[in-house]
Symmetry: C2
Subunit: 138 residues, 2 copies
């Protein structure tokens, strides 16, 4: 699990400016277990930064992805979700309600999948689709 200071340090090291917005975004993402969308982040951050914009959110999130601190999930066809968890894992997406859950996966399994291609794999996603128990029972 990465921590806020580590990321801010690395940002600085790479020559990026430590703006209040970037700090706020990193802090808000760090350690959380859900997978917020840009919209969700925007609403949450508005409390601290009433003027924050999608432009800033998207650009910061892309920065964090390039640095390997988060993954941008395309499991939901409608919008991207951000996943700040570093540990190797798969995702389950409920096709009815949109619920998005982490699923544990062994590192060994992940490595095996990454090596499926003869090309060098930089990142990997395993997406499972179905109905969550609640949606299945009605």
């Amino acid at each position: 699990m990465w921590n806020v200071d580590e990321i801010l340090d690395k940002l600085k090291t790479r020559g990026y400016k430590l703006t209040g917005q970037r700090k706020a975004i990193v802090e808000r993402l760090c350690g959380r277990k859900d997978h917020p969308t840009a919209e969700q982040l925007y609403k949450e951050l508005k409390k601290d930064y009433p003027t924050i914009s999608f432009a800033t959110i998207y650009s910061t999130v892309q920065l964090l992805e390039e640095m390997g601190y988060l993954q941008i999930l395309t499991i939901d066809e409608k919008k991207t979700h951000f996943d700040p968890t570093w540990a190797a894992h798969a995702h389950f997406f409920c096709q009815k309600c949109g619920r998005l859950e982490d699923i544990e996966m062994e590192q060994e399994e992940v490595d095996k999948l990454k090596n499926l291609s003869e090309y060098r794999t930089q990142s990997l996603q395993v997406y499972l689709y179905g109905l969550c128990p609640e949606c299945n029972n009605r």
Copy 2:
């Protein structure tokens, strides 16, 4: 591998009309190894159906997905790709040129992944991201 007639039969059985457009779309998808986008399909189909529309393509493709004959891939953040191959396999996406390739995967492996969740998994995608050899060498 499914064939054109099987699909058309099943469409009829389910009460859908066998329009020329649907036949053309099914024929064009059946057996192909690449992963066309809506745009690509549209261009190709225009030769036979100069008036064909995106509305028809999207609706037919959704129908085929519901019937389990193709998968709609979200590996490319920008647009969806259609995959008419039924056999279990993963996908590799080149982050630079957008090349999208099939990767073989054993059925055993697929089943294992599908069972990672306690919920019933209806479908599964394994996406590998990286650079293809060509993009890697320049």
